[in-house]
């Protein structure tokens, strides 16, 4: 194995290495996804675990360190840079797709109930995560102290709390769909709240990254600064939607006048990359812009192209190719050896408990009768792409060390893993106590 590995590393040009990375990643991601689907588990869990295995094969003393360049703090290797960039494009495309899946009309229809459910869950998760962090993390990582000696440790606690906030709309939707209960009232509340969570999560990510960056630059973010950032983030989303709804039909209409092939897809990609880089230039995470682009774009905008395939069908092959690379790459960066340290096990367990309990607060303000609060609370448990993005951003900012990064990824895995059986139990329990359920049983 050593021989093959060093041969490959030494003699292959960077692009051939990119191809080999891609083959290994695509094969293992699909094996992982398949295995988990057959065990009736979410496929994304299999993709993450495939990444964890690839990244940690080196622990077997096999000499297989092919993926080490992708785990280093600074990507020095052309192939690792390329895969990292494909993963980032993947996450942009994923958030664009999520945005395409939920229209602005849906957002308005979600209503006050979903909005309050989301807000309560986000606040409770943040507070619990913050306290778990104060309990386990007592010092600022060295690499941060080197660049910012006065870095305040509370910023780290805040970042970790923020990394627990958002329910993954993708996983939740998938679980309700798999148990055949997408239409129940609790499912609709949870899905609506999860969409709100995505938006809140992205705003919080924008805030958290900006605060870390300003603290690293030696300035303590003032209350005024934070308020300004919040306004920028919210303003960006609202602005993108308002201007978008006015401007985008024209941009798309202009694209439809072109005779060149593939213009429908290219127009959509330009809008997606355009809003993503605008978000980046405004100090937000590029995914915020990609999500906003998806929200604003509707299938109906593309009717002038007279195409019989929809825009989602055109984006789908690109996401099929690129999105798994993101999940695998996150998995690859998990260092299993971290868990030999009892403190890391402690913080992982702490974060998992905080993540689960935090969302049980969601039902607190539900006063309408006939809604099962526990089902809502459990439905809100799974964390996903937003948390993984938090973990990735935190690691690249230096605010999360390898151990905390690994703990957050494990928290995502465990919450995703626990939700399907818990939710099934909650729904079944509910069914027995309701007369309506009898009709369905008979």
């Amino acid at each position: 194995m050593v021989a093959v590995n060093s041969l490959v590393l030494a003699t292959v040009d960077p692009f051939a290495k990119v191809l080999i990375y891609l083959i290994i990643i695509l094969v293992s991601v699909k094996l992982g996804a398949e295995l988990f689907e057959r065990m009736k588990q979410p496929a994304v869990l299999g993709e993450l675990i495939a990444g964890v295995i690839l990244g940690n094969l080196v622990l077997l003393n096999s000499g297989w360190n092919f993926f080490e360049p992708m785990r280093a703090a600074i990507l020095a290797d052309h192939a690792a840079i390329s895969i990292d960039m494909l993963a980032r494009l993947g996450i942009i495309i994923l958030l664009f797709e999520v945005g395409l899946g939920s229209s602005m009309k849906d957002m308005r229809q979600v209503g006050v109930l979903s909005f309050s459910v989301a807000t309560v869950g986000v606040i409770a998760s943040f507070v619990l995560g913050y306290f778990v962090s104060t309990f386990f993390i007592s010092e600022v990582p060295k690499q941060i102290l080197e660049i910012a000696p006065n870095f305040n440790i509370h910023i780290i606690h805040m970042f970790i709390g923020a990394a627990l906030c958002a329910t993954s709309v993708g996983i939740t939707a998938r679980v309700f769909h798999d148990i055949g209960r997408s239409q129940m009232i609790e499912a609709r509340i949870v899905l609506g709240a999860a969409v709100v969570d995505d938006v809140l999560g992205l705003i919080i990510l924008a805030l958290a990254s900006a605060i870390v960056a300003s603290a690293e630059a030696g300035t303590i973010p003032s209350f005024f600064g934070i308020a300004k950032l919040t306004l920028v983030a919210i303003g960006f989303l609202i602005g993108a939607m308002v201007i978008g709804s006015l401007l985008i039909p024209r941009v798309v209409g202009l694209g439809a006048k072109f005779r060149t092939q593939g213009l429908m897809l290219i127009t959509a990609l330009i809008i997606c990359f355009g809003l993503a880089s605008l978000a980046g230039l405004s100090g937000l995470a590029p995914i915020v812009g990609a999500f906003a682009a998806g929200l604003v774009l509707e299938e109906i905008h593309f009717k002038d192209f007279g195409s019989d395939v929809g825009i989602k069908d055109l984006i789908s092959p690109i996401s099929t190719f690129l999105v798994p690379i993101f999940f695998v790459q996150i998995g690859i960066q998990v260092r299993l050896e971290s868990f030999l340290n009892p403190a890391v096990v402690g913080i992982s367990v702490g974060l998992i408990v905080a993540a689960i309990l935090g969302k049980q607060a969601c039902g607190l303000f539900i006063t309408r009768k006939g809604i099962d609060r526990l089902t809502v609370g459990i439905g809100m448990i799974p964390r996903g792409e937003v948390e993984l993005i938090f973990a990735g951003v935190g690691k690249s900012l230096g605010v999360l060390d390898d151990e905390t990064f690994s703990a957050i990824v494990v928290m995502v895995m465990v919450t995703t893993f626990l939700t399907p059986p818990l939710l099934k139990w909650a729904v079944d329990r509910n069914k027995k106590s309701e007369p309506q359920a009898k009709m369905q049983d008979s």
Copy 2:
């Protein structure tokens, strides 16, 4: 402009810069393609020229040097590395698509006539290109002499000759289609020959690169060594096809048993990347493998997936996104200032003449009556992706300096530009002298 540009370069993280590159590239490529389509010219010409303009805006003393990192001999910038990698993925996907478009059955049906037309045209173009090169190029580039003081200049002449060989099947097919003559006998001969040309061109590229690499390593490639390489290249293609036809239905069948989403596309990509990196590991260009993968894969292999979209429909959005990046990137690297040097203008004109005359030899051995040799000869003129790949590989090996690289790209542009009007003229001229044409006119 200076301010914006340095702001962007200085403060934006590499990924945001990748997004900005992508937006500029996608917008300008589609504007270029559209403009040329409206002028009834091949879209690919517009894409190349869009790239030339982007890369040479710096000449306007505008301070706009945003694309300089993509023109440097060594890509030092993360964003430039990423775009380069996307362009390479694009060319892999393009050759995979070309391969998917021509089945092994087609290859067998092309027949002896197309094969002889292709071979004669390739040999004549090679010989003419070689002599043009001896006329204009009298010394080995310094960067090569530094690593290989005994480098033989005839290897450069050979490389340039080889860079004229292959007719672009894509452009030829497009032109015949645009003038509504895809079914005429000359068109079928030319298209068949162009497919053979692709294969011959890829074999020649494999040979030429290997000879350059061995000369750079200080060894003079022996006749035996060249013969061995030829056998490896031909053996690879035949081997890939034979083993592929046996193995690939099983691999695809295995993929079809999976329940995970997107497996059809992922299976195809794994086969494409797999053969591409196998080709790379055997010392051939990765595109040879991608083309072989496309040849071997047939729509019918994927019937077990029970999907109502074909594999080409799934690959198409990915190529719509990535392929233009390749053409723009080639255009960006053209240095217009090279043409201030009369010698560069000379070699460009020489190569263009060699490229046109070389293919007029194609008709020499056509003895069957009723076939217009001039139409065949003109139909074979356009050069395209294989030559651009030659130019790119030659530049990265150091065997082509900026001037010769630019001359080859200009040769591709001019041949592509001249073919549509010339072919129309040849076909019309033919029509008048044939009674059959009258029936169509009435």
